[in-house]
């Protein structure tokens, strides 16, 4: 069923990956223009080139498993990795997602950043990010993925802290980078274990080797590797405990949030897990951990989102929650469901973020929903797009989220009934907070002057919104259950990706009636919840919105005090430790050095004596030296 790898020289994939890099270099080093139009256009063109190459790759490569090798990268003893890009099942879909949605976000950003003073910085960082992400996606070995991993972390830092003149933004960037770094420990652990025990770093190699030697490995090895990768995912894909950077990352410009924190970077963890799925299947313990962690994250984030007033923060927590859904799917043994949700989520979350950006732009940079309201009149297009996104995310029948979310819920219930119920609760919460955000923003009376004088955004921003809205609605039809047509484009794609292996994992199937009842029930109940939320939240006044009294309300609003807990336990203790180290360094080490001072001065004094300043004495020294050499030569030294 699976074709074997064809190794060819650099071609479409390479151009696809390098185009954004070239764009970044042109923008950042060569042109450095102050015009958003110019730098944005260049960046967008680079992205279009990437997109076109993705299309060409699809047309040319079709079903073949192509590996484009650039150059032999490392050949040290056991390890032999090439710098190569592979065109393979998962890459196909994600490539279209990244380049397509990326292009639209670039178009949007060209209008959004029109008032910025140094737009070339922004666009070069953005292009650089896409480059790193494509390297992450397309590399055929874990080392290249790691390079992309670090690259997206770096660009995330650069972009979150883009307006670094305000210290809060810079701090948010640092938080993102440091938290990611803690996660990277897991990745490195996995890399080292793989090198030591497998001697292979390329994906096809790892899976093939795993087949061969699975029985001869120590029992703890594969779970440890998978745990390392999962730990890295909690950092990159914002799961517990390392999700804390994502809400703060809203300090960056909105296109950044849309691209990085909705569509691409945060899905890296899912991508890597799916690529190495056979290893994960071999460690059921880790899969359980993933399931429960994802579930906890989904629930926690949903609770926090209910009482957030900053529009972007709601969306941020929503992202964390939806990522939790994806990991629940992985834990339940359904990588196809997880990937499907990745794709649909990319579409509607990018849409939501861009629409939010349009809204914020329209109300003159006011982010608090307490001061918005009634915007459906002045901002018609944005309103419709946001509504489409909302309906998608809550799983309104036949929108994209409907298919992907319900697939996940079905698999979760299969895996563990009580866990599944909790997931359903999370889905209801999703419906609640999204409709709350929607109605607070677009319905009711205008609650402030800013919202009274709101204006619609330019077509540069609206066009991508519309395209994404259309996608969000229809992309769900890639994978439908039996009743509705049984289209299985997605699962086929995923199933064909296991590098030559025939059956992967036990992707459970269920009886038709069970699925149907389930779906109907969940959807219906979410719609009810959504309607209640909409009705209730329309008529709130600013003060009522900002009012966070009441214990439960308070806890949710304050993010369950997670950041504060981290601060006290980890950060303060590290600071105390570093203080101790400083004392040690200053007194003990420097003290030792000070002891040596007299000895060194002695050398100096002796040397000083020799420099008589009298030229003739130097000639004596020369002759003495020559005599010394001869004497040493004679008396054998």
């Amino acid at each position: 069923m699976m074709t074997s790898a064809e190794f060819i020289s650099p071609s479409w994939l390479t151009i696809c990956v390098l185009a954004p890099l070239v764009g970044a270099i042109i923008n950042g080093l060569i042109l450095r223009s102050r015009s958003a139009m110019l730098s944005g256009s260049i960046a967008t063109i680079a992205m279009l080139v990437s997109f076109v190459c993705a299309v060409m790759a699809y047309l040319n490569y079709g079903d073949r498993f192509i590996v484009e090798t650039l150059f032999p990268w490392i050949q040290l003893g056991k390890i032999k990795v090439d710098f190569a890009f592979e065109y393979h099942a998962i890459s196909k879909i994600m490539l279209w997602v990244i380049t397509g949605i990326g292009t639209m976000i670039h178009v949007y950003a060209t209008s959004y950043m029109s008032h910025d003073k140094t737009p070339f910085r922004f666009f070069s960082y953005l292009n650089l990010f896409v480059f790193a992400m494509l390297v992450l996606l397309l590399s055929n070995n874990l080392l290249g993925v790691f390079m992309g991993w670090e690259g997206v972390g770096l660009c995330s830092y650069l972009l979150i802290g883009y307006w670094y003149q305000d210290k809060k933004n810079a701090a948010a960037g640092m938080k993102a980078f440091i938290t990611n770094r803690i996660g990277d420990l897991g990745f490195v652990l996995a890399l080292l274990l793989l090198v030591t025990y497998f001697g292979e770093l390329s994906f096809s190699g790892i899976i093939a080797k795993h087949e061969q030697i699975a029985t001869s490995l120590p029992v703890w090895l594969i779970p440890l590797i998978c745990f390392g990768l999962f730990w890295a995912s909690t950092g990159k894909s914002a799961q517990m405990p390392l999700y804390v950077w994502l809400p703060d990352a809203m300090a960056g410009p909105t296109p950044v949030s849309a691209l990085i924190h909705a569509a691409t970077m945060v899905t890296s963890g899912v991508i890597v897990t799916v690529k190495l799925w056979p290893l994960f299947v071999a460690s059921p313990l880790i899969l359980s951990i993933i399931f429960w962690t994802g579930l906890a994250t989904a629930l926690l984030a949903a609770f926090i989102a209910i009482r957030q007033n900053d529009l972007k923060k709601v969306l941020a927590y929503s992202t964390v929650s939806q990522l939790g859904f994806m990991f629940v799917a992985l834990g339940a043994g359904a990588p196809d469901a997880a990937l499907f949700h990745v794709v649909t989520h990319a579409c509607f979350k990018a849409l939501l973020f861009l629409a939010a950006g349009s809204v914020i732009h329209g109300v003159h940079d006011e982010k608090n929903m307490a001061f918005m309201g009634g915007l459906r009149v002045p901002m018609k297009v944005t309103h419709v797009c946001f509504l489409m996104g909302t309906l998608a995310i809550i799983g309104f029948p036949f929108f994209s989220g409907f298919f992907s979310k319900d697939m996940i819920i079905a698999k979760a219930l299969d895996f563990n009934f009580y866990g599944g119920i909790l997931l359903v609760l999370a889905a209801f919460l999703t419906a609640y907070y999204m409709l709350r955000a929607y109605s607070l923003t677009f319905w009711g009376k205008a609650r402030s002057d800013d919202s009274k004088s709101a204006h619609e955004s330019s077509w540069g921003m609206l066009l991508p919104l519309c395209v994404l809205a259309v996608l969000s609605v229809f992309i769900g039809w890639l994978e439908t259950p039996h009743i509705l047509g049984s289209i299985h484009i997605f699962s086929d794609l995923v199933k064909s990706s296991w590098y030559g292996l025939d059956s992967y994992g036990e992707m459970k199937t269920h009886t038709i009636s069970y699925e149907l009842i389930l779906v109907a029930l969940v959807t219906g109940l979410s719609l009810v919840v959504a309607f209640i939320s909409w009705k209730k939240n329309q008529h709130l006044s600013s003060d009522e919105i900002n009012d966070q009294r009441g214990i439960l309300k308070n806890i949710c609003f304050n993010k369950f005090y997670v950041d504060e807990i981290y601060s006290v336990s980890f950060i303060k203790s590290l600071k105390a430790l570093s203080f101790l180290y400083d004392l040690f360094d200053r007194f003990i080490i420097d003290g030792l050095l000070k002891l040596f001072r007299p000895i060194l001065s002695l050398f100096g004094i002796v040397g000083n004596l020799l420099h008589t300043g009298n030229v003739q004495s130097y000639s004596w020294y020369i002759v003495f030296a020559v005599i010394l050499y001869f004497a040493l030569g004679i008396f054998g030294l």
Partner: protein
């Protein structure tokens, strides 16, 4: 020492060369007149030249003689420059004692 008779010529030449060289060294260390010191330099070079010529004769190798030529050449250049320096120093100090070339120590 058994070979001495056969090499008598060589040993004598080397002896002469070494003597001249040592005399040059002694003169260089003892005299404080810059001009005399330069002359002792020339003596040292002369001694080296004698050595080279005798070895060149011993091995029938023209390379030694070529080196002698170059040494003479370079000695000429160096003597010229040295003398020019002495003239400048004389203009400065009105005598040419090497004690004038003392650095000031703090």
């Amino acid at each position: 020492m058994e070979l001495f008779n056969q090499f008598q010529g060589l040993y004598f030449q080397l002896f002469i060369a070494l003597t001249v060289f040592s005399i040059g060294v002694i003169g260089f260390l003892i005299r404080r007149n810059l001009l005399i010191m330069l002359m002792c330099l020339e003596l040292m070079l002369n001694g080296v030249n004698i050595t080279l010529v005798s070895f060149s004769k011993l091995h029938q190798d023209p390379g030694g003689s070529v080196l002698v030529l170059f040494i003479i050449l370079v000695a000429a250049a160096e003597a010229a420059v040295g003398l020019a320096l002495i003239v400048s120093l004389f203009r400065r100090f009105k005598n040419i004692q090497v004690d004038n070339l003392r650095e000031q120590k703090n």
